[in-house]
Symmetry: D2
Subunit: 394 residues, 4 copies
């Protein structure tokens, strides 16, 4: 073990955090809590952990929360915490999609920062309203498109921005999974049940759950904006109510004199893929490839030279990656560290807010705009597919 890590632990007082959702049995709640804890920027002090009051109370006990600050509903939590002297400064919303908007509203309007799971909402109309609310609020709105927190994703984005790839021509995105290959929602698998239920997930199935991640990542790395798309959506599993596979062709807005093209494939019925998120970007001068399952590696080919393997913390890895890294090269960081980076970036912004100081321009996290873009993407996919794959502007 050799070189010192780059991510700072320096704290300016932990941020008091509440949580909506995330009671026992909820996978993503635990992830958010670890992410909040990892760099010691937050302290979980309140929760409305379940829509079931008993479950909420029990989960609060298990997490060691003060029972007085375990609430029966997010609304109650927002009202009460806003009045406390040391009430929560930020809230993590980790419910199914259809709750995001109503919950976020209650906190934003009381000046409490919101860290919200993706996708932004379950309907496009909610998304537009939430964007408006977020813009009007003094509080921050942070969306956990967590994959943008991986150091080598930051590295990739920095290299594209630096012009290392020249003008971008192609962005190829994919996010195959296999966990919905069979109908497990009918059998009551909880994660599957709400994700395939339009009333909870919204109009998109795989497109909303994972397609938005791939799309967000493609844009984040390439710096491009989508102009229009053509999509072909399927529900391969008989009886499934939302798409479980999507093929999408994309046309991006012109940049550096080139109108780039792209493809996106997301699937929940592709046996052999756990979370096969991959982004590839090609320009006039070079190409990049990043794979989520092996996140400490970034493949970079300057056109006409041998392919290079850039590793997190290793030679060729720059400042953008270093500021969100903790351990030296060769010691892999993973999903939780990437997720924690979103929380820690938010913390840096919140600390600046506390002091009335400007936020360091290097601080980067997904916003309500990214969330709305994701919702527009899902909406465009669904529309295009209904129109037999016609091009739909976003």
């Amino acid at each position: 073990m050799a070189i010192e890590g780059s991510a700072s632990e320096a704290r300016e007082g932990r941020i008091r955090l509440g949580m909506v959702g995330g009671g026992s049995g909820a996978f993503i709640g635990a992830v958010h809590r670890i992410a909040a804890r990892l760099d010691d920027h937050y302290e979980l002090v309140a929760g409305a952990l379940s829509s079931s009051p008993e479950k909420a109370a029990q989960s609060a006990r298990e997490l060691g929360l003060d029972p007085a600050r375990s609430y029966g509903s997010f609304k109650e939590m927002a009202i009460r915490e806003a009045k406390l002297k040391n009430g929560i400064e930020a809230v993590a919303i980790v419910t199914p999609n259809h709750v995001h908007y109503e919950a976020a509203k209650e906190f934003l309007k009381r000046g409490i920062h919101v860290i919200c799971d993706k996708p932004l909402t379950s309907t496009l109309s909610d998304a537009r309203k939430l964007k408006k609310l977020a813009e009007e609020s003094d509080a921050l709105f942070v969306l956990t498109h967590n994959y943008t927190g991986y150091p080598m994703v930051r590295q990739a984005r920095e290299m594209v921005a630096n012009g290392d790839l020249g003008a971008i021509r192609l962005v190829q995105m994919e996010y195959p999974q296999d966990w919905l290959t069979e109908d497990i929602e009918s059998g009551g698998q909880k994660q599957a049940a709400w994700r395939t239920d339009p009333s909870k997930s919204g109009a998109g199935g795989s497109t909303g759950d994972i397609g938005t991640h791939a799309y967000n990542l493609g844009c984040f790395v390439s710096g491009l904006e989508l102009a229009e798309l053509a999509a072909d959506l399927d529900s391969f599993v008989p009886g499934r109510r939302l798409d479980d596979n999507a093929h999408v062709m994309m046309r991006f807005k012109e940049k550096d004199g080139v109108a780039a093209k792209g493809m996106l494939w997301c699937s929940q019925v592709a046996p052999g893929h756990e979370n096969g998120l991959k982004v590839r970007v090609y320009g006039t001068k070079g190409g990049l490839e990043w794979v989520q399952a092996d996140p400490n590696y970034l493949w970079y080919t300057p056109f006409g030279e041998p392919k290079r393997l850039i590793t997190r913390g290793g030679a060729g890895s720059g400042a953008a990656a270093a500021r969100v890294s903790r351990v030296p090269s060769g010691h892999p960081e993973g999903y939780l560290e990437g997720f924690a980076n979103i929380y820690s970036e938010a913390a840096r912004a919140i600390h600046a807010k506390r002091k009335g100081a400007p936020v360091d321009p290097a601080v980067t996290y997904p916003t309500v705009d990214d969330g709305l873009k994701g919702m527009l993407f899902v909406d465009a996919c669904v529309q295009s597919s209904k129109k037999n794959g016609a091009w739909v502007k976003v």
Copy 2:
């Protein structure tokens, strides 16, 4: 070194072979000659190796051909060889695409077997005529879609046919390259010049040159037939006359109660890819992945079990792969061996023809039908792209 190879050397007298094209400096001609020689089924005895008579003669000398059997044109060769007692029994056509039809015609009508490079022709109309000719002729017509000769491609096809993957839902094909990232055709690079020239290549650039390979392979492995496609073609390099990138969405005909979908990406402007041909097939019971650059491996995931790495000649590799293998597992076979398998399969059919015996049903090689399908694919891509990506039936 351990186990004996499976490919037989047993010969029934070498087949007398002629060649059209393939003079010095032609890459693919040398490949065909090695492929013909590898398993010792052929003897090259005549040639019309170049459209330039001097170059033809010189190339013939270099290859040790009898000068009397070095011809100035393919037509002359066809006429004269057909009259010789020991004239050629088969001819390899390795010219640019626009010559394929006229050359094949001269040999087919004289009963000489044709082994022709892909794509079939440069125009769809030629392709249709050639199909008719081939059907009327007693001679064989073999198209060197060489990737179907790789043992693990045969293995994949066998597994799909055996139902190991269940009903097929998805076929994802890609063939990225980077050699045309810049405009090298203007500088006179010979391979680039004819491949980007519509009069020699036909209507498709990347679609014809490599998209047809990926498409052929996807169908070969999955056993599916394409119903319609939607394509978005680009010529990213300014001034380029043919597509150098294509994004294609596909809908296959129903099989086993499922109408599969697919995507195909081919590109000549994707830095970091040499010959990145990859085919992935997913069904209700499992998934497969094969990558041309690492051809001795086949990744297979039975749904709900760990991913398995099947190797050529290794455990889990079956009869279809074994009959086109030469060396034990762990000793890689490559591109030339796969190419040779097409030649050797053709030889097995020719030997059967010689004896008036039926051809072993295991013998498998691409035919004029595959060639026509490729041409229809290119035509559909070009049409769809002109219609802004509308679905076009094939």
Copy 3:
């Protein structure tokens, strides 16, 4: 995202933790703090963070420690905290090696649990004394051979113990790095300086720093005990005072009727390796391979079947891995999670101690015995090398 993680957050009251060493600029201290925090089992409340009092105080401030509990020496901390009603229950020792013994002694004799970085001590004599102390103390002694915390290492160990590999014949270990390829210790690189200084590191350089990890891991996975070894040590960089490369042949004690053999290579001068720790185990029925840089994968070959890729949380991954996992398959966990597993296993044992309950037999962490074995390994390597590679019993 699909399946719920398996690692429990359920807390029974955070354990009060102190830290010796780990002030600013110390890489491994930050790692220990994250590891302690990740699963929320500990609360850092006291520290003797540096041998320099100012640096200690400043580091304590940065970490938000109560200044009254920032001590100038570990001895002072041990004495004072032992008297506090809510004094620390456990201490993390993260200093250079030569301080381990003296520090551990002060806490163990006061009944404070010790979590100590590896290698155990800088001298074999200290190691033996420490073992005695640890055995006499009622407090736990936990050594952070962190690689044993990786879920797939647990999986590998479980498979060997289950007999999936049959009787073990071979254990191949390697841990190459490249960071000491050049003489950076002379230039004052802090990490390099103490690691190449015999007075701080002890008799072994690469053998002590990384060889012990590889050896520990080989034994942990295989369940074997070393009988004797033959070593050839080098200091390739001119002027270096400790070994920077070691080649070791090993003979293990007989088990299941087979006396296994092994090799171990550790190096700090192998360009291209960051932390290339790899362990391979082969038995009469199968083989396993695990690579630290890609820790979520375990390659398993049942003899005569295709190689299988077992993934953390995926099919084929069992109970031993699941109990130290947090997120679903396909979302990589890394070095910090593995490190945290050692802390969390220790916490489970400490919680049992608190209650006077027996420790769950599944709880697994490296002990003072493992530490002594590591010291004996280093000693044997040095001795053997001095005797020109003669076999030395351990």
Copy 4:
């Protein structure tokens, strides 16, 4: 498909070749025949294909040999062919090891070039005699250490020779297999039977069969010469008469001021490995890694820079690789092509001999010296192991 291949087909008249051994059922005979044929430098015209006269005759028929030139013994072949006007110019000896010496002698003394399978002989004494004979003969002696024919092995050697790695410190070699994990020799598996029989294989089992390959390759790439070794040999399978696993530590002669060290592991009982030959070389300036199963890749790390993937024919691949390549980058070449390169290099030397011209200094093939080195390596391994791993000079 893009760039023209570099390997020349230009022929100066095929070399007349005979073969000793290699009748039906012999794996390596077929490999030699393909290797001889691939670049069209040879014509097989005579054979003593089996020690059983009937089998010899039948094999000759199958290969289409003139029955008059199918001989009952190698001696008869040598005598008769030497008298023919157009008798064989070269002979391939592809028998089990114990026949190599006697057969080679008959041809060398008649001025017929010998291409001989490895290892050189079955005894060290035969090896020394053969070396003397080869030196006295005007004919060439070529040993098919075929792995030195792989283009990227040539590339690696060229890079080391060019100083790209600086002074070499470490050479790590391994060649694990699994085919002898169980006792298949007792069951009559032919390949296993002679390879585990000291009277046919000589004193080394795995050391002779595959250890010699790894050792040869390590020296070929690094340009180093071995000074001494310490070995620990095992026969893990009960009743096996020769080693099936060897652990070897090596000390090389000083070069560029550094006395390099190395390790070699060869095994036939390591489940999961087919032909896991791997060579890694590390110097003061960089490191290299090459793996036989993926032979078109060479990993190169200039110290302090990102790892680079050099591909056969791709950027960064130089002249030494190009002259033994046939197809463009991205189209894999394999084992047979590497083997053919040894034959083609031999042909270039034989053609020069024919003309009395000097051999192009770029022509590179393994010689009797390499063969003797291999025998000395096996002998030293066996001696050292008998002396409990004492260092033995070679």
